[in-house]
Subunit: 197 residues, 2 copies
Amino acid sequence: MGFNIGILISGQGSNMLNIIEACQANKLISDVNLVVSNNPDAVGIKKAEKKGIKTATILQSNFLKKKDFEDAINFELKKEKINLVCLAGFMTILSEAFIKKWKNKIINIHPSLLPSFKGLNAQSQAFRYGVKYTGCSVHYVDKEIDSGKIIDQEVVKISEKDTIESITRKILMKEHILYINALKQLEEIYIDGQDKK
Amino acid sequence: MGFNIGILISGQGSNMLNIIEACQANKLISDVNLVVSNNPDAVGIKKAEKKGIKTATILQSNFLKKKDFEDAINFELKKEKINLVCLAGFMTILSEAFIKKWKNKIINIHPSLLPSFKGLNAQSQAFRYGVKYTGCSVHYVDKEIDSGKIIDQEVVKISEKDTIESITRKILMKEHILYINALKQLEEIYIDGQDKK
């Protein structure tokens, strides 16, 4: 058995959809059991529902404290017996307390070859810096932003003809390949761990 | 006509030898007219001499002030009509004043995919961080360390079997390809510039 995956999104959910489809096509042995959005307008939620995935929209603005907002997310994840949280364009920085609860069970995809170009707009950061190669990284989430242990990476070459838009597109295509490959690797580690129990 | 290249080294001079050989084999239209070492034991100096290249060893310890040491290097470079300075394992940080004199005419090779892993032991830094891809970068030298505009880069994949030693070897092999390619690109820009005069 693979993971019960919970995916946190804020927008389009293109990586989310990719993971759902990989699970439903048995490219992964895990299942996506829940998608949580923190944005009422996240298009990804509808995409998830169309695939028959349970969803929840939890808005930080409905809570007085960030802790309460995070507790609400945590409650939903626990309810669905989630044991791996995948961030996929989730545009809120999670607190150290939340991350500690999900230590080594929460991963993220970032559109750069980390440790270069952490934070927002990594594709533009790379383009403006003038690097000849960028890419994407799947990494464990720890308390520092985009600094957790790297699980896997993919490279994208930047040619003279590229624009920020073309690079962003190319990286996103690689993200889709990378996130599935990274999940496969984690499934293998997870199954190994279960075998040894 | 290409550049009159001056190469600054401190050790083995493997990139230096590679550039000399590319020039002598007419893979580049430039010539290496001078190799300067700041280390009396730099093996590279003998390699350069064997190739018939003029050399100078200039020790910082022979000067009271860093400025005087750099003036001595500058004097040698000017004497040989150098118009492009290539750093190749030159283990001294050049002053802002020196770099200003050689603005856009001094380049360096660094064993990482900049801006990741600046400074010393970039290969080990990358290995310890756990990145899946590293590489090397040829860049203009500016006043910040390893931060100048990137001219070109090459990627090296890190697999599970790799060690710091194997990665260092792989990067060095890519460095040899990269430095020549970067010089070719600069030659083209330089020739274009001369044509327009």
